[in-house]
């Protein structure tokens, strides 16, 4: 063969050269983050309705300090500044919504700094943290301000029988059960975002519909609650019913927005089932036998720690592989 010869001189055109696939879905990291923020709007609205518009300052403080911490650390570490991807703002917002109404603004700021600093950036930033950053921040506040964080406000529009105590505290310390309806609407005592189950569900179902939240996690948590909560209730009817467990406290908020955090939840479909069931089991045990009335935060953080292990043992079977083994 001769060396290269062509009739015309080669005309080179330099176009965009990337490997396939050349099409991409419309989602990006920042679009996802801001979409989740949008899905929290109903919960924010519920919080402001039931606890007064001044609660917006808690939210603003949490978001501003979360973003500020993110930027400061990135500046110090000479890393790319990425606050606009929305992840820090989302963490701040989630943290704010787990706090009780009228919570001290300075403590809120501390919580945000811890959430981003210790919860996220210390691991290397977005995508590398093990524990849900917002919950890390809240856990810190729970330890640092144990009284403040369990001081509740009586909601607006509450009927007389409703006290400022949360349904879970009322159950834990006084064995009083709250009806499901007020818990669903939200005119009961509780943290800002968790108060209205309906508002949480609107946002959560929206996230499931667009595919951001994998339905397996909330569903497995709810089924787990029926399973484990139901078991304890059958053993001793003095224990709360599964329905009470689901609507009380931050269970639904945790199921839709906290446990489903992409970074800190399993990556396999099977793993998500294990994760969700595990959270419910730990939660039921904490609520019934623990010293605290509520345990969603700890149960999610606890299961976060198991995620790498869950991922390892729930690797999906490669297409066609099982049948081959059976033949042998």
């Amino acid at each position: 063969m001769e060396t290269t010869t062509t009739i015309e001189p080669k005309q080179k055109v330099y176009f965009d050269l990337t490997t396939s696939p050349h099409l991409h879905s419309k989602w990006t990291t920042s679009k996802v983050m801001w979409f989740v923020v949008a899905a929290l709007v109903p919960s924010i609205a519920a919080a402001l309705t039931f606890f007064g518009w001044t609660q917006i300052f808690i939210i603003i403080t949490a978001v501003v300090f979360a973003v500020g911490t993110e930027v400061s650390i990135q500046v110090i570490r000479k890393k790319q500044i990425t606050w606009f991807d929305g992840s820090a703002a989302l963490t701040g917002l989630l943290l704010a919504l787990t706090l009780p109404p009228n919570f001290s603004l300075s403590a809120t700021a501390i919580g945000s700094v811890v959430a981003i600093g210790l919860g996220k950036q210390i691991f290397g930033g977005l995508g590398y943290n093990i524990f849900n950053p917002a919950l890390v921040g809240r856990a810190f506040l729970q330890a640092a301000f144990p009284v403040q964080i369990t001081t509740w406000l009586k909601p607006n529009f509450a009927v007389d029988s409703v006290t400022s105590a949360t349904p879970l505290a009322a159950f834990k310390f006084d064995k009083i059960f709250t009806d499901t309806v007020p818990m669903a609407i939200g005119n009961v005592g509780g943290s800002l975002g968790e108060t209205s189950a309906i508002a949480v569900l609107i946002g959560g179902i929206l996230l499931i519909a667009v595919g951001i939240v994998n339905w397996r996690i909330p569903l497995s948590m709810i089924l787990g609650m029926f399973l484990f909560g139901g078991m304890f209730w059958l053993i001793n009817p003095q224990n709360p019913t599964p329905i009470f467990h689901i609507f009380a406290g931050s269970f639904l908020f945790g199921a839709m927005f906290m446990a489903t955090d992409w970074v800190t939840s399993p990556i396999t479909n099977k793993g998500m089932w294990v994760f969700g069931l595990g959270i419910s089991l730990v939660l039921v045990v904490i609520r019934i036998y623990g010293g605290l009335p509520e345990g969603v935060m700890y149960s999610i953080l606890f299961m976060n720690g198991f995620v790498p292990l869950i991922n390892r043992y729930t690797r999906p079977t490669i297409f066609g592989a099982v049948k081959e083994e059976k033949k042998k």
Partner: protein, 443 residues
């Protein structure tokens, strides 16, 4: 109408409306053609002409070398200008014959004597398919005669014609189904005859209801033939997905469709087989879709093999000012081009010119461990893990996680919100793993 489907996959915007209602146009003879000696998987064909030779359309210019190979014929009448390395759309230069066109007389075209499809024996069909240089039109370009010659111990009980055309933009197979349904069914019957199979299925995605209806009415009274509607989802047209959806069988990793008793052929291949047997034609033209928002006049074309992409694009009115990317093949698995002086080959199915808003390139962020790629992978792999192993040079882990099973369909990278070029990393890792495997085998 309920449509069958498989696990995983994605549904990209289809963009088929750009060309689906445009009938095939015949491209005029180009001034020159570049004929790579390897337009197929397997051994390169060996040249049978030398510089200065005069050739007639359809004349053999390179003959098949060994069993897994295919001959090359010239698509034009002309003079051999050179034999040497030429750039191809795969990104690699290949040994090629360059022919300058001198005449364009259609009647001079070389033809084999036609065979009667009713009386042709399986051996005659296989021999003709091999001599006509037919290769799989689905993209991989596997020599078709080899696929029609399964080893004696393999029992084949179904032939599936792949009418999914699951890649966005492409409408070539759809046009074949609409314009040449009888020839397509004739081709399918010839394939079934060569393989001694009684069941033939035409699988079509349900975004092509006209094709489903037309072919269903054609096969209604044909014994053993059926049309199956499949849910429109990428990558339904992948062999493993199609077999699973149609027959429920899973092709194990590292095995071939024939290991589960199935042979898949592309719509275009069936047409080519019909033409080779009934008309005696050799494969010297490629049917392709020229589309995308960056091309002035999108078309479905029948192009002489060897025509440069530049010629084809010029024929379609050229590119628009906002065109940023030129792809040979479909948008999910095709190859971006840096040089338009590359030939259309036998298995080229499309030329796409995309604009900035179609390719939507976004900045990459760290992996968010969302698991979307895992949920979408039709082969149940863990793309994010495979890509990570590849980045970290952990090739043994990558092999253990099944990196060689990946068919690079692009579903994972399509769905990744962090915009990680997963396929790029996996492809790299796959090459390294295969290299390591080869070295191990040598030892």
């Amino acid at each position: 109408m309920s449509s069958k489907t498989f696990h995983g996959g994605v549904h990209p915007k289809e963009y088929k409306e750009l060309t689906e209602n445009l009938a095939f146009e015949k491209f005029p003879f180009p001034e020159m053609v570049i004929l790579p000696l390897s337009q197929h998987l397997g051994k390169e064909a060996s040249p049978q002409v030398k510089k200065g030779d005069d050739v007639k359309p359809g004349q053999l210019v390179a003959k098949a070398e060994g069993f897994i190979s295919a001959p090359v014929h010239t698509s034009v009448a002309g003079k051999v200008m050179s034999l040497g390395k030429e750039q191809t759309s795969s990104g690699f230069p290949k040994d090629s014959i360059v022919i300058k066109t001198t005449g364009t007389v259609e009647s001079e075209k070389f033809l084999f004597p036609p065979l009667n499809p009713e009386t042709a024996t399986p051996d005659e069909i296989r021999e003709r398919v091999a001599l006509a240089g037919i290769v799989g039109q689905g993209g991989a370009a596997f020599p078709t005669s080899v696929k029609l010659t399964p080893p004696k111990d393999k029992v084949i009980d179904v032939v599936i014609l792949n009418g999914c055309e699951c890649e966005p933009y492409l409408t070539r197979d759809y046009r074949f189904m609409i314009e040449r349904p009888d020839d397509l069914i004739s081709g399918l019957k010839l394939i079934m005859k060569a393989l001694n199979v009684n069941r033939g299925v035409i699988g079509i995605e349900d975004n092509k209801p006209e094709a489903i209806e037309l072919l269903s009415s054609k096969v209604k009274f044909e014994h053993g033939l059926e049309v199956t509607a499949l849910k429109t989802k990428y990558p339904q047209g992948a062999e493993k997905m199609l077999i699973k959806t149609v027959t429920g069988r899973e092709v194990p990793p590292g095995k071939l469709p024939m290991d589960v008793g199935a042979v898949i052929q592309n719509i275009g291949t069936a047409i080519a087989i019909h033409d080779a047997i009934v008309k005696g034609e050799v494969l010297i033209s490629a049917a392709l879709t020229v589309s995308g928002k960056g091309i002035k006049n999108p078309k479905n074309l029948i192009v002489p093999v060897g025509t440069t992409i530049q010629n084809v694009i010029d024929y379609c009115g050229g590119v628009t000012d906002d065109a940023v990317k030129i792809i040979v093949g479909g948008p999910m698995m095709g190859v971006a081009q840096f040089d338009l002086h590359v030939p259309v080959m036998k298995a080229t199915s499309g030329i796409l010119v995309l604009t900035k808003d179609e390719v939507a390139e976004n900045p990459e962020t760290p992996c968010l461990r969302c698991g979307q790629c895992i949920g979408a992978c039709p082969l149940n792999l863990m793309p994010t893990k495979l890509a990570r192993y590849s980045q970290l040079n952990r090739f043994e882990d990558a092999e253990g996680a099944g990196i060689t099973v990946c068919m690079e369909c692009g579903t994972c990278a399509y769905t990744c919100p962090a915009n990680i070029p997963l396929v790029q990393w996996i492809r790299l890792g796959k090459q390294k793993v295969l290299q390591i495997k080869r070295d191990r085998d040598v030892k």
